[in-house]
């Protein structure tokens, strides 16, 4: 924590070495965050780049009372959401009503996949589901906050999340050897 305090202080003095140190320390973890919200590694790196630029720009707003990693993570998530909204490639997919699936099971399996496989599965979700699932299941935002972030109602967020969750569970089951498909399109 004290190291980060000094690191932030040096970054605020625009010391390139400190800026690079901060980047090196958090870049891999943050790219993991960005990767889950996008569909390609290149897009994830674009988000990471934009996120770090914003982080260095607004670093003076970091008040050292929380974890620097968590602060950076919030910036990355917000940057990713902005990226999805602005990028034409994602605008169409970021519709929360186009994909309509019928859940046929509500079982909650144990997650046996590793993080890489899980991340890949999350990225296979439709963009809207993917976003809400990431925000709620991984980042821990509640549906009210998600609604505010995405401009949708709490209920929409909740229902979308449930569908994304069930879809993901079904894929996890499949990837774990359980070949029973537990969802079907309407």
């Amino acid at each position: 924590m004290s190291d980060h305090f000094q690191l932030v202080k040096d970054c605020l003095k625009h010391k390139p070495s400190a800026q690079k140190q901060l980047y090196v320390e958090f870049a891999e973890q943050m790219l993991g965050v960005c990767y889950r919200y996008t569909k390609s590694l290149q897009d994830a790196e674009d988000v990471l780049q934009e996120g770090f630029v914003r982080a260095f720009t607004f670093l003076h707003q970091y008040n050292n009372d929380g974890e620097l990693g968590a602060w950076l993570r919030r910036i990355m998530v917000n940057t990713a959401l902005n990226y999805l909204k602005k990028n034409r490639k994602y605008q169409h997919d970021l519709s929360f009503d186009t994909v309509d699936l019928t859940i046929v099971t509500t079982e909650d399996p144990e997650v046996y996949v590793n993080c890489k496989e899980l991340a890949e599965l999350i990225r296979q979700l439709p963009t809207g589901y993917q976003t809400i699932f990431n925000l709620h299941a991984v980042e821990g935002y509640n549906h009210n906050e998600i609604g505010q972030l995405l401009g949708i109602s709490d209920n929409t967020s909740r229902s979308q999340y449930m569908r994304a969750r069930q879809l993901l569970i079904s894929w996890i089951k499949n990837s774990s050897g359980n070949k029973n498909v537990v969802y079907a399109s309407k």
């Binding site: 625009h14 390139p16 800026q19 690079k20 980047y23 090196v24 870049a27 891999e28 973890q29 790219l31 993991g32 990767y35 889950r36 590694l41 994830a44 790196e45 990471l48 780049q49 770090f52 630029v53 260095f56 720009t57 909650d108 144990e110 997650v111 996949v113 590793n114 993080c115 890489k116 899980l118 991340a119 709620h136 299941a137 991984v138 821990g140 969750r165 569970i169």
Partner: protein, 474 residues
């Protein structure tokens, strides 16, 4: 509860998820934050300079009226002083004549040390001047400032005699009125008239023992006319060429803009990568500001009261900083492509942010400027200037960004030698005690043509901002 377990499990699984980003990401981040920092500094300096200029301008304008009134006052006082001195000399002569006349007439009633000058003796009581009153006239309220500013001039001279029974102010006004009338005549009076007047003054006609106040005023005014014409040199109002030297100091930068040309693999300009860092597709050479200076000479000529024209020759040293990678000491003369077939380089740099590199540009420029004088103050000029500066790049030690090969190296052939810049600035000028004229102010200079040859996807334009100082020769 089961659902919460699922989310917890997901969070725990994803906690350790990380991916190593491409090195290019950091390069881009570093470039962008450097650019933001540069912009922030530029804004800071711009506003600082603007505030400084505003403050100086305000100071000049606020002091202008004060200076003008003080200057007018000084001029009036100086004129009064000259007139009074001349008048005093005349009075002295008159006194001598008077004494002689008095002596001849045997008028022993008049005190020798306190001569009386009156007209025909009829107005003896109304208007006569005594030496004892001269001190009072000098110390008169209207002339007290004169005494202050021109102390030496007055004190060693004979005193003016003042009538005791009339208002001193009225007398003084009368004198002044005569001065003004004669000053107005000044331009229309010929030299012969002046000489004639001078002769007359040398031999004042006093047909009695006394002279009148009006006569005294006339004598004073005529004497003033002579004094003005003989002693005061009128400066030539015709505009002349002035010369001087210019010194510039500030910061320079190389601004880059996209030209929309891509050097992808399908392009005819594509050069196969020679660097192992070639996968860094989004990298590019970026520049940050660095110290810059210039020196030269100029000549200027007033076009009218407001506009000046100047032309000169300057040597301008531009400098920018770049972040580069490792220096590769390896000959790369074998890679030929459309525009690099004649190029042979011994070493080059890779894209990275490891070391700093100073890009130098040596330019000879010929600034052609027109300046506009914003105020009327002759001692403190505030001018806005603008113009163009054709230039020639005589030498450079700048890196060329070969985007095809994605390497950086020195290559003079990739730069345009002839270039043209636009100049703008504000100059504050004044004259020092020795009469030397100096102008100082902020200037901007922007090269409007592309510095590099148009085979790369970005255009480069040198930019300078700093302080310019002009020293005029006498």
């Amino acid at each position: 509860m089961q659902a919460n377990e699922f989310e917890k499990n997901i969070q725990a699984t994803m906690e350790s998820f990380s991916i190593k980003p491409n090195d290019a990401v950091w390069n881009n981040v570093a470039n962008r934050i450097a650019k933001k920092e540069k912009r922030r500094r530029a804004i800071f300096w711009f506003f600082s300079t603007a505030i400084l200029c505003g403050a100086i301008g305000l100071w000049i304008f606020s002091g202008e009226n004060k200076n003008n009134s003080f200057k007018n006052e000084e001029t009036t006082i100086a004129k009064k002083s000259d007139k009074i001195n001349a008048a005093s000399q005349q009075i002295t002569k008159a006194e001598i004549s008077d004494k002689q006349a008095v002596s001849k007439a045997g008028n022993s009633n008049l005190p020798i040390g306190d001569p009386i000058i009156t007209k025909n003796g009829l107005n003896k009581n109304k208007s006569f001047i005594t030496e004892s009153k001269a001190q009072q006239l000098v110390e008169n309220k209207n002339l007290s400032r004169l005494k202050f500013s021109l102390n030496n001039t007055i004190h060693d001279k004979p005193k003016i005699i003042d009538p005791p029974f009339k208002s001193k102010v009225a007398d003084d006004n009368k004198l002044e009125k005569a001065f003004v009338e004669n000053n107005n005549k000044e331009e229309s009076i010929s030299k012969s008239e002046i000489e004639s007047t001078a002769k007359n003054l040398e031999k004042p006609k006093i047909d009695s023992n006394y002279i009148t106040q009006e006569t005294l005023a006339k004598i004073v005014a005529d004497t003033m006319l002579l004094t003005n014409n003989s002693l005061i040199k009128q400066p030539s109002q015709k505009s002349k060429w002035k010369s001087g030297i210019t010194i510039l100091a500030g910061i320079s930068d190389n601004l880059q803009f996209s030209t929309g040309k891509n050097m992808d693999a399908n392009s005819s300009l594509y050069i196969p990568p020679v660097s192992t860092y070639a996968d860094n597709t989004s990298s590019k050479l970026s520049f940050t500001t660095s110290f810059s200076f210039g020196i030269g000479g100029f000549i200027s000529k007033p076009l009218n009261k407001r506009f000046d024209f100047s032309v000169g020759v300057n040597y301008h040293f531009y400098q920018t900083s770049s972040r580069v990678g490792n220096k590769i000491n390896r000959s790369a003369s074998n890679f030929n492509a459309a525009f690099l077939q004649d190029i042979s380089i011994n070493d080059y740099y890779t894209y990275d942010n490891i070391a700093g590199y100073k890009n130098n540009y040596h330019l000879l420029q010929m600034p052609i400027l027109v300046s506009y004088k914003m105020n009327k103050n002759t001692n403190h000029n505030l001018r806005l200037s603008g113009g163009i500066a054709p230039g020639y790049l005589v030498g450079t030690k700048a890196l060329f960004d070969n985007k095809g090969s994605r390497i950086l190296y020195e290559d003079k052939k990739q730069f345009h030698h002839f270039n043209i810049s636009v100049n703008a600035g504000a100059m504050w000028g004044w004259k020092n005690k020795n009469g030397n004229e100096i102008e100082v102010g902020p200037v901007l200079q922007y090269q409007i043509n592309n510095l590099v040859k148009p085979v790369v996807s970005t255009s480069q334009h040198l930019f300078f901002t700093g302080i310019k100082t002009n020293f005029f020769f006498k």
